[in-house]
Every structure is written in C-alpha cells, then in structure tokens.
Symmetry: C2
Subunit: 228 residues, 2 copies
C-alpha cells in the first residue's frame, strides 16, 4: 500500500490527505517532522518538505502540486465514482487551479505562514522563541480579508471554484482546519465562509483530520464539532 509522509498541522499535507480519501486512493499515514531533516527523508525529497506520497507503482511523488496532479492524472483508472480533483472543461479546471494557487501560495504567505509557523514550527526552529506578535497581528488581519473572499465565492457558486467540489475547496479547508485547530478563526463573523466550511467538515474525508491531536497543542473546543 502507498504511504503518505505528512505532518498533522501542515496544511499542505492535510489537503493531500483530503484528496486521497475523496479520490479513493488508499494510503497509510506516516508522520514526518520536516524540521528534523531526517537523512532518509531528504534523500526522498531534497526540498525537505511534506507531503511525500510513496506509491507502490510509481515510487515517491514529492510535493503537494505533483501529488495533486498525479492523482488527477491517474484517477480515471481507479475510482468508479469518477471523482475529479479538477472537474469540468479547461476553463473550470483553470479556475480550480487558480484558487489552489490562491490558498497554497497567497493564503499560505499571508496567513498560515504567520499564524501557524509562528505558533507551531517556530517552537522547533533554531531560535525556539515565542511568537512574533507583529506577524500574528498581520496574519489575523489578512485572515479576515481571505474569509470575506471565501464567503464571496461560496455565495456566488456551489463550491469555491464552480459547480463541483474541487481541490480548491480541499486546499482552502486544509489551511482553515489548521487555523481552526489553533482556535484562530472568527467563524461567527463570517457566516458564508462558515456554512461552506461546515459542508466540508461533515464529509467523511474530513473525519481523520478532526481526530488529529498534536502533543503540546490543544485543539480548540469546537475543532471536532460539526455543529460549531
């Protein structure tokens, strides 16, 4: 069986965990702590980042972008339900990819890197200092702008990228789920975004994420609550 090397509070890893279940691609999970720079892991992925999907058929596939496109590439043969990470015609697929980039790049740079990296990964870094409050404040401000954008998309479409669930929803939900674990999302002020997230949260693919508990980091009270 395939193995996914991941870290529980890594949004990129989470987006792939969601994608694997939605695609019906079975994989065991193995926790990797990328900040430890484990030698065998660096040999597998010289970039030293998670996730890495070690497949039986095609060896290791390193990185969120290659793994998601690999699943899209090979999915037809696997899934009787025909689930597509990038569904529809070329313009719809391009829109889903635009939003994947939005969340995995822009949202990461503007929100996740500030809030999660400061609270979680900084603890394992060389400085091991307490969070930078200025970075945390910028992350909180930017998060509000992004929740407004998510609400706008969710209000005008069935799912973020269009009529069908796509990897864009999974990428966005992955970042928010880590922030939600840390109690950083002001859901009550962003109803449209909250309703969209509630739909994702109740999907079977989300269940394993809601069971994650990481030593040293307490999950927020409503993290696993479907009626948050």
């Amino acid at each position: 069986m395939a193995t996914l090397l991941h870290y529980p509070l890594c949004a990129f890893s989470r987006s792939i965990r969601l994608a694997l279940v939605e695609c019906g691609f079975e994989a065991e999970l193995a926790e990797e702590r990328p900040w430890e720079w484990r030698r065998a892991f660096i040999e597998l992925n010289p970039a030293g980042t998670v996730p890495v999907l070690v497949t039986d058929e095609h060896g290791p596939i390193s990185g969120t972008y290659p793994i998601s496109e690999y699943l899209a590439d090979t999915i037809d043969e696997r899934d009787p339900r025909g689930f597509q990470l990038f569904p529809g015609e070329p313009p719809a697929r391009a829109e889903a990819r635009r939003l994947v980039d939005w969340f995995h790049r822009k949202f990461y740079d503007e929100v996740t890197s500030y809030l999660v990296d400061e609270k979680v990964f900084r603890r394992f870094g060389p400085q091991s200092a307490s969070p930078n409050m200025e970075a945390m404040r910028a992350g909180h401000d930017n998060l509000r702008y992004h929740l407004t954008y998510i609400g706008h998309l969710a209000d005008t479409r069935s799912w973020l990228a269009g009529e069908a669930l796509s990897f864009a929803d999974l990428a966005a939900a992955a970042h928010l789920s880590v922030l939600d674990y840390l109690g950083e999302v002001p859901w009550e002020e962003f109803e449209a975004a909250k309703n969209w997230y509630a739909l994702l949260k109740s999907r079977p693919s989300f269940r394993p994420l809601l069971q994650d508990r990481v030593a040293g980091f307490t999950a927020s009270e409503t993290y696993a609550d479907l009626d948050f």
Copy 2:
C-alpha cells in the same frame, strides 16, 4: 488572438512566454506593471500577479500554474509536433512538476525574490529604497547552491527532469535569464549548469527574451550572447 499580460523582468511571465512558443500557441504580448494595481487588471486577476493569458476560446487564465496546466491540457489538439510540457508517464510528469515547484517556489523564495525583487521591484514599491544588502548576499549564496543542483541534474540526465525537455527546464531558465540580465550569474564557476543553459538559450523560443530591454536596467554584456 490570445494575449499574454506579462512583465519583462518577471521570471514567471518568462516561463510562460517560453512555454507558449514551445507549444506553438500564438499570443500577443502586453506589458503589465503589477505594482500599479490597474483596476481592470485586478478585475481580471484578483491576485494582481502576472502572467495572465487571455484566450479567445476560454477567457482569462490567471497564474503560471493554471496557464502551464492549461497548455498541457489542451495541447494535443494544437501542436502537430506533439510538444508536451510534462512529457512521459506519470512518474516522469511528477518529476517535472517537482522541479517546476522547486524553481517557481523554492528558487524564487531563496534567490529571485532576494536578487530581482531587491534590484527591480523595490524601486517601484512604497519605500522605493536602495537594495537591502543582506538580502542580496543571501540571494547570492543561495544561487550558488542552486547552480550546483542544476549542474548535478544536467550531468545525470539529458534535461533537468529526465530524457525530454519539460516545463521544469523552462521554469529554471526563466529565473536564470532574469538574473543573467542583471549580471548576477557566476557562470564561469558552474560549467554543467552553463552548458545546460546554453542549450536553452539557443532555442528559438528564447530569442524574444534575449531581445528584452527594460528602461532603467541595463542588460549584462553577455545577456544576449549565445557564446557567453
């Protein structure tokens, strides 16, 4: 005809310009200065970044990742030569995408953002200050590590990702071409990387890039020289 909104010293734009020519996809170029936040441009791409490909058939495609996959998605119908940005079987395609991510994300974060953003885009920013010398030094150090990696790949394979030219080569060459314009690449110390770049530089798709001249930024003496 399609139009590509681009900026001449933007490595992401350049990788798509190369891809368009290699794929035989005709497009006019229109220069966009993303730091001006032109209203009609933000309506086209809310992220406010170049490149954006405005197609006749499918409307605007925003961002390097969506455009490259769009070209890969739609290329079979267009190109009699059958050029593929991600050639081969799933593992080969995943390797090309791993390296695209390497250059468009890691190399960008570690080199281009330091050297090009400091020298070029900073000039148009709100501070408009002179380059941060510490950032420039970090960029130069990281560039040497990346040139070693490129040399290692080029020494063990025909092209960076394997036996065939792929978007990985175009992405890497796009970043290096901007650095080369600014005279920042110590080619003489990295022969394998230089030989690989010379091959790309002599391709017809590269010619338009070598003709770029940007007011206020003098091209290095050997920038357009195929025998550099």
